[in-house]
């Protein structure tokens, strides 16, 4: 009986040991805001793992991104295929192996939405958005912000987004997007360079 009880409770015990709620959320918010204010640029490699629940299949992509304040982002996949998204203020350029497409963000609501999410996630300021309710967790290694969508179009796309910060709150360490059907996309950032000089020409695609 004791064994059975232990087996039943073990996952819960493990989980509670893994992440617990943050008590002083105001202090954590301040740390994230300070991090965001003091970060002028981020350059990082990333790996993206898509877990398709129906197929029990993981799809891994790799790439590199560069962000420069205020609204310059170059998000580039190198494998399994080449794919580039460049956000240069109000202009979005998408280049795949076949085509280059340019969009004006103001004329395309979907791109505006994607830009807001990408930039605010990279900066870690997404918790300020009224489109999400945020719950704050921590363990020995990370702070975890669980973002729960509050508006319909976000709810349709995501069940939640988890943002992980290292304990020094220097930058976003990883990001996890859980879709309504439990498919998960995990982005892991590594080889990060913070506040290094960035040549703005990389945000122009010819």
């Amino acid at each position: 009986m004791l064994k059975l009880l232990f087996l039943l409770l073990f996952p819960a015990i493990c989980f509670s040991q893994t992440f617990k709620t943050v008590k002083d959320t105001a202090a954590l918010k301040l740390k994230i805001e300070n991090m965001s204010k003091s970060t002028t640029s981020i350059e990082s490699d990333f790996s993206q793992e898509k877990d398709l629940s129906v197929l029990s299949e993981k799809i891994t992509s790799k790439g590199h991104f560069v962000f420069k304040k205020d609204n310059l982002l170059r998000w580039e996949y190198s494998s399994p295929s080449k794919y580039l998204i460049v956000i240069n203020k109000e202009k979005v350029t998408i280049k795949d192996e076949k085509k280059t497409s340019k969009y004006d963000m103001n004329s395309n609501k979907v791109f505006k939405e994607i830009n807001d999410i990408m930039v605010s996630c990279v900066q870690g300021t997404i918790f300020k958005s009224n489109k999400f309710k945020t719950v704050y967790y921590e363990n020995d290694k990370f702070y975890k912000l669980e973002l729960l969508p509050q508006v319909k179009n976000m709810k349709d796309a995501f069940k939640k987004i988890n943002l992980y910060f290292d304990k020094n709150v220097t930058s976003v360490a990883k990001m996890e997007m859980v879709e309504a059907n439990d498919d998960i996309t995990l982005l892991d950032f590594f080889n990060k360079k913070l506040n290094a000089p960035i040549n703005e020409t990389i945000f122009t695609v010819k």
Partner: protein, 216 residues
């Protein structure tokens, strides 16, 4: 001047009609047709194992261009899923193929237009060669075409398959006399897979699909 224009239009129409008719009649007047049962000896299936098969994919519908990855996997003895995700990891659709039906399990809301989804379901069903093997077909030849196979079923497009020494090269679908889709296959002998599949759906809503196999 006006008369010249009329003559020009008439001539163009005749030429167009002739051209289209030639295309339509490529498989007509077949001789020595034999009833056969399609099997893997005739050409290799696209989906050969229960493991997931991945393709870099680009889909052009009207003026929209989508790119990403198609993952195809048999999930049980009668069910196969065809899932399209963009590079950013957003799932665009998940089609579930059963022996006699294709269901859209999930479709990204902005794409969710019945005409478009039905066209995509139909084209993916055909290009992955569902309902081809272990069914009856006619094996024929004409003066204009080498050996081809025809699968004709009431209420469905006629499916014409042409092969070369390596295997399947094209699948053309006709709705009556009208060509509805053309699918081209490139077989890679070294990897024993179809390395590229290109599909064009003709008509009002033109759709182009290009798949390039990703080696595991």
């Amino acid at each position: 001047m006006r008369r010249l224009t009329k003559q020009y239009l008439l001539l163009s129409s005749i030429l167009c009609l002739g051209f289209v008719s030639c295309r339509i009649h490529k498989y007509k007047n077949a001789k020595n047709c034999q009833l056969v049962v399609m099997d893997e000896q005739m050409f290799q299936p696209v989906l050969t194992s229960r493991a997931a098969i991945k393709y870099n994919a680009s889909i052009d519908v009207l003026k929209n261009h989508l790119s990403g990855m198609i993952v195809v996997k048999q999930t049980d003895s009668v069910t196969t899923h065809i899932v399209f995700i963009t590079e950013l990891g957003m799932k665009m659709f998940d089609f579930e193929v059963k022996p006699y039906e294709v269901n859209a399990v999930y479709v990204f809301e902005p794409l969710n237009k019945p005409l478009l989804i039905n066209a995509l379901k139909r084209n993916f069903y055909h290009l992955f060669l569902f309902k081809v093997f272990y069914t009856e077909a006619q094996r024929c030849k004409t003066a204009k075409t080498p050996l081809f196979y025809l699968i004709a079923r009431p209420g469905s497009d006629d499916r014409f398959f042409t092969t070369d020494s390596l295997g399947l090269t094209t699948q053309e679908l006709f709705n009556g006399r009208k060509k509805s889709s053309k699918i081209e296959y490139v077989f890679n002998k070294a990897t024993n897979t179809y390395s590229q599949i290109k599909c064009v759906q003709y008509g009002f809503a033109k759709i182009k699909i290009e798949l390039n196999h990703i080696e595991n």
